[in-house]
């Protein structure tokens, strides 16, 4: 009897500790639902129920410039963007590795801007990319590759240790989204409808060395090999963002690489005419990222290539896809209208 | 013994050294007092108390201290 009581006591204490810590962790972790939403992108993938023909991986140059909804509407291509802010190349690799645990796409599109970084850059961006991932070996490896010197693995395992002092910055947002978060992306695409015309990029700084780092190349190889092993076509792209500067020397290296391995490499910076993108109206921040109008144009052009070059199948009319994508399309349209209305209101 | 008590009483007139046997433990005499004591004892009895004999057991009471002095005198 006494022993039983003891066991009940210890169990309830343990439960109280675990539940309260878990609750605190949920409360204190950033929700990425207000001003900064980029941190919420990675986790949304796990709500997908159907497969995708195309998976995009990369940094903001994928999630702000390609619209999967347009690809569906125009060509019946199902796609998803697994991108996040300043996503480093190894983070893209491990995300791809993880994605392949769930599904096997026909095509993987990688935006090559991330080749510029050979080392982890900023803790906040690491967090936005890594915290959203479900636990897997890929996540562990990605964390190990990404940690800056002052970071600790255990702070990823128990994010409470990382965010412990956020209690002083808690807002209504943290309570509202404690249990359920809004969907903020459209298959990984982050929609912006405002316009800020480009006035040209600042002059490019001279670099001491234009050669991409060995680590960047290593992971580019890894991405290519992973795709080969899974019979996936790899497409390299450079989004039409005029800043950060995409150096001629960098472009050459990618071109050489693509040629060597027979990959398609599309540098959209050289295709403004073909895509019809006009940086006086199609960007929301002066040419760094496209807005919705730009992304739709780019997607329409890119989708055509996917169909023509790779014969991606048109899924429209297939029952399982139709119902799901119809919902996605109407959500997209609703958001678009809301945002446009908001914009005119603010004017 | 009377000489020793006289030295002690000069140091701390308010303490009854005949009965107290926790001089060190209760911090009635501190390290300064101990050194003064040893120097007084040296000039009165001509006995040098070496550092290794400075342990609470030897300084806790006047009687203990007196025994120490006698022992050192004998050894001399």
């Amino acid at each position: 009897m006494i022993k039983q009581k003891k066991i009940v006591g210890i169990t309830s204490i343990l439960l109280a500790v675990i539940i309260s810590l878990w609750f605190l962790q949920r409360l204190l972790m950033p929700k990425y639902m207000g001003q900064v939403v980029e941190g919420a992108l990675i986790a949304e993938y796990y709500q997908e129920t159907t497969n995708h023909d195309v998976i995009f991986i990369g940094d903001c140059e994928v999630y702000e410039n390609f619209s999967p909804i347009t690809l569906w509407e125009k060509y019946g291509i199902t796609s998803y963007i697994r991108g996040s802010a300043q996503q480093l190349i190894w983070q893209s690799y491990y995300l791809l590795e993880e994605t392949l645990q769930y599904e096997k796409p026909d095509i993987v599109v990688f935006n090559v801007l991330a080749m510029q970084y050979n080392e982890p850059q900023k803790e906040a961006y690491n967090r936005m990319t890594l915290d959203g991932m479900k636990w897997s070996l890929s996540k562990v490896k990605s964390i190990q590759e990404s940690m800056l010197e002052e970071e600790s693995f255990i702070e990823y395992f128990f994010p409470l240790l990382r965010y412990h002092s956020r209690w002083s910055e808690l807002t209504v947002e943290d309570w509202n989204y404690l249990w359920k978060k809004d969907i903020i992306s459209h298959n990984g695409y982050y929609m912006r409808v405002d316009v800020k015309a480009s006035v040209g990029a600042p002059p490019a700084k001279k670099l001491a060395n234009y050669e991409f780092g060995s680590r960047a190349y290593y992971y580019l190889d890894q991405i290519r090999i992973l795709c080969e092993q899974n019979q996936i076509a790899l497409v390299l792209v450079k989004a039409p963002s005029i800043y950060p500067h995409w150096y001629k020397e960098w472009d050459m290296q990618i071109e050489t690489y693509a040629e060597k391995y027979g990959l398609l490499y599309l540098n959209f910076l050289e295709m403004f005419e073909e895509t019809g993108i006009d940086l006086s109206v199609d960007t929301y921040d002066g040419g760094l990222h496209l807005n919705l109008f730009g992304a739709e144009k780019l997607s329409e052009y890119f989708g055509k290539i996917l169909v023509e070059e790779y014969g991606v199948f048109d899924h429209r009319g297939e029952e399982i896809y139709d119902t799901i994508w119809e919902e996605k399309v109407s959500f997209y349209k609703k958001k678009k209208e809301e945002k446009l209305a908001e914009l005119t209101e603010n004017k | 013994m009377e000489e020793l008590l006289a030295i002690l009483e000069e140091l701390h007139p308010e303490v009854d050294f005949r009965t107290c046997c926790t001089l060190v433990e209760d911090k009635i005499i501190d390290s300064f007092d101990i050194v003064s004591l040893i120097s007084e004892i040296h000039s009165e009895f001509d006995v040098a108390i070496p550092a290794e004999e400075i342990i609470p057991e030897n300084f806790n009471s006047a009687a203990a201290l007196y025994r120490l002095i006698q022992r050192l005198e004998e050894e001399d």
Partner: protein
Amino acid sequence: MLFTSYEFLGFLFLLFLLYYIIPKRYQWICLLCASYLFYAFSGIKYLGYIVSTTCSTYLVCYKMEKIGEEQKNYIRLNKERLTREEKKSYKIYMKKKQWNWLLFGLIFNFSILAVCKYVNFSISNINNVLQLIKSNSRLPFLSIALPLGISYYTFQMMGYAIDIYRGKYPAERNLGKLALFASFFPQLMQGPISRFDDLSKTMFSAHSFDRKRIFFGLQRILWGFFKKLVIADRILPAVTTITHNPENYQGVYVFIGMLFYALELYADFTGGIDMVIGIGEVLGVQVKENFNRPYFSKSIKEYWNRWHISLGAWFTEYIFYPVSVCQPMLKLSKFSRNHFGEAIGKRIPVYLATILVWLITGIWHGAAWNFVVWGLMNCLVLLISQELQPCYRWFHRKFHLEGKWGFRLFQVVRTVLLMSSIRMFDCYRDVSTTFRMFFSMLTKYNFMELLNGGMLKLGISAIDYGILFIGMIILIGVSFIGRSGSVREKIAKKPIIVQFLIWYGLFLAVLLFGAYGEGYDASQFIYNQF
């Protein structure tokens, strides 16, 4: 490996686990391995230092003991034959032999310490002199890194050697055990400086898994974390801002900095020692207390009996007493009595020994003039208050102040302020700045600046102040409760749910309010640097 790092927590966890899994007779070996592993983390190249100190001390003590045994045997065998005089001279001869060994040990080990710690200080002083005499030559500085805990283990081992010389207890025959005594990892970084007869009682014996003791140990560790992470590291930015920018922060800021530093140092140092003692408790090794609510002291003398107790005890036992009662000193005292009068003769041993002790204490804290002056200031205050003792007594009696609550509070506050102002020497970069700042505190009246948002420009926010305030109340409260016996014992008598709430609350306080992780620089314990 910082005590407050995740690595150290992992290290502790694994050690605790292993310690109670392995057969009990190997527990001390496990501790020895852990200690050397811990030491190796700070740099494998430093292992040589601690190994040579351990081995040399072992050798010296072994030799001294052998000589002691030889003497005993000789006297026993020749009891009848020897005259009293012969016996005496033989004893003196043997003691001299032992003394030579001890001297060798002391010189060898203190030389290592001196070279590591003080060579560059000496060089910089020589260079200053060279500059003064307008010579163009300068000595280059040596790049010697300070081996972890060298001040602590050297003192500890030399205390042990002196004890063996004095015949206090037999020398340790097991080199491994002596090595553990020297390197016991919790106290390697910030003490306490333990004595062998204290530590060896529990260090090498078998310890079974005693739940109460282990819980108590963990509680003590947690309490240390609270002091270090919630209080000391949170106030640190303000102290740094004030003391590193003496041009911008004068007057009342100096006063604030002084008080903040008093709080920081207390929380930092006692918190660290709490962790040391707590870790010891979990391992079943009883480490002696190093503090006894020092800020409740009513005089500087009392303060030094309650703050860093083990260091004070070491200096008293191994320097103050031997110096003040050695033959030449007694002769000097007698000589002065005869020539300059009773009053002076009596004071000579105490004065000289005190000055020497504080000079060394100062230098022990750091190789810089700040610390020398700091030590001498302490010495000055101590000696003055010693001289004024009769005055005080008369004053107290005359005004019936003895034992009154208000007066005791006054004494406590006075002692804290006095200690804090002396301590300014270890905050500011040099002696002249310290004096300048001290006087600016008395002459510059900028109190209003403080109220007009000045407090918030020191690098800590209003929220930090809130936490510090509550933390301080908890500290003072716990100190008060602790006056009448162990706080943990008192808590342990409460219902289980209350116990849980107290300890879990403390854990959450450390977890949420601790200044650690992203955005905070992990800071060393202040006393690690000594």
